[in-house]
């Protein structure tokens, strides 16, 4: 394998780089099991403790388990809804080619490139007027349909041969059946990419849920952990903070490792997202 000395050196350098990339994670997972005195002084703990996790799981008001559940709820709703509506919209634009579809497709691209900062304040006011403050709706409604997903679905739909759809129509399939029986299975990879990137973006999101949700019982873990860390009460509780960071990171890392192929494809496929 190591044909030359040069290759060996490259492997060593890359491994050192990989160590720096994963070091914060390693330290985080190890530290979440440390007693507080060893967090800043030692890398490898001398004894393991579950106290940090017990602490964050037993909070009366700020329970990180509830936070995890909330994070999951506000991440999975946009995933399902985005896939459903983006399939329908992309099919209407790209395959049915409704009147004005070229304009709509361009508009979708402008929407993706449009600066998000402009929507922060007025969207908050819209949600407040709709009575969606402190609700899951307030945190998810704005993400129910994603222009980005419409864009990558229509990119894929371009490649599906019309003969396939025509033969389905001759067999008596309705347009809805074509979408969900033919297009959806054909675009499994695209769907996986949309699902993973949407889930990841919503799981990690911080600013919007913090603005819209002040209720500890509905907060996703990002907001719960941020307020825990920033607040006066637990600012010096490093152990529980790190346990929270571990809980927030691990699900997404596991998801990433399991579906790594789709992540890699998704990044090179679509370039910059959002």
């Amino acid at each position: 394998m190591f044909k030359s000395k040069k290759n060996l050196i490259i492997y060593i350098v890359l491994s050192i780089g990989l160590f720096f990339t994963s070091f914060p994670y390693l330290w985080m997972v190890l530290s979440s099991f440390k007693v507080s005195a060893e967090i800043v002084t030692r890398f490898i703990p001398t004894k393991l403790t579950f106290d940090n996790y017990i602490f964050v799981f037993s909070g009366q008001q700020r329970n990180f388990l509830v936070g995890l559940l909330n994070s999951f709820i506000i991440s999975i709703i946009p995933v399902i809804s985005t896939i459903f509506f983006s399939l329908l919209t992309a099919y209407a634009f790209r395959r049915i080619k409704i009147w004005g579809y070229r304009f709509f497709e361009n508009f979708v691209i402008y929407q993706i490139l449009f600066p998000q900062v402009l929507f922060l304040v007025p969207l908050f006011l819209v949600m407040r007027n709709l009575g969606q403050v402190n609700t899951y709706g307030g945190m998810t409604i704005r993400y129910l349909i994603s222009p980005w997903a419409i864009f990558i679905y229509s990119q894929f739909f371009k490649t599906v041969p019309e003969a396939l759809l025509e033969s389905a129509r001759i067999d008596g399939a309705s347009e809805l059946q074509i979408i969900f029986r033919i297009m959806l299975p054909l675009s499994a990879t695209t769907t996986a990419i949309v699902a993973l990137f949407t889930f990841m973006a919503r799981w990690s999101e911080f600013l919007w849920p913090m603005i819209i949700c002040k209720d500890y019982a509905k907060m996703p873990l990002t907001v719960l952990l941020a307020l825990f860390t920033k607040g006066d009460l637990f600012g010096a509780y490093f152990g529980p903070q790190i346990a929270g960071a571990t809980l927030l990171s691990l699900p997404i890392i596991i998801l990433f490792i399991v579906f790594r192929k789709y992540f890699e494809k998704g990044i090179t496929f679509t370039g910059l997202k959002g």
Binding site: T21, P24, V40, L88, I96, L120, P122, L123, F206
Partner: protein, 295 residues
Amino acid sequence: MRKIIKVNRQLQKNIIGYIFSTPYFLFTIAIWLYPFIWGLIISFKRWNLISPTSTWVGLGNYLEVLQDPILWVIIRNSVYFMIVFVGLTTITSLGVALLINQIPKFKSFFVIGFLLSFVSSGVAYSVVFNILFASDGLINNILNIFGVKVGWFTNPSIAMASIALVVSWKFTGYYALFFLSGLNNIPKAIYEAARIDGANPWQSFFKITVPLLNPTFVMIIVFATITSFNLFAEPYMITGGGPMNATKTMMLEIYNRVFEFLQVGYGSTLAIVSAIITFIFVCIFKKLVERDVYV
């Protein structure tokens, strides 16, 4: 007769298509167009979020934003961030990509490994870096062996660079992937020809590789510009915009003004000014960096 049937079929298809895309149209009007226009209107008003009435101030908010010294502090911080971030990520991700490009095996293992930092949530790694780089944290304890102590997030002149370091950590693998696909697009024959003409590896790197990776460089710089004005989770979690406003970003200022001081009109104006500044910066950088490259 046949023509009428054809038109009818066309009409029927369009009706179905419009039914399918109606949710998207309604969504765009309610969640996109309507708030966008509302945001524009608020920027001409003075309003405190709570009172039922607001007053028109014309261009008052805009004048106030442009005269506010904090705007220039934010622009300075953002440019500082861009320089450090672009410098660091270019070195690390191009380095990683060049190395991965040469190895015969385990390519995708390393690609996946370097992407690990990209998937993390901003809040989570901010908590981690905040404790790791604290003045008495593990990193300073290690540096202390050499008699060095760095105020990563407490020294105003390097706090923003430390934030850029954290964000670069996140994006190294992500950009390495783009550099890798850029490298794959360069035909091997060019290097071969250069070698025959007597070019050494350094010459072929700076005369072939770097110019042909121009699109990737442009992308990173554009992205760094957008990121620097939208930076929120990291400075909010780690420094809160301090010390002495050294890590204050546009997003942080908008958040503070609107949701802490309830200056809705001012905040909306700031958002619009931010979008315009970002756009201007992107245009300038594209003009400076972008070259037409043909392979």
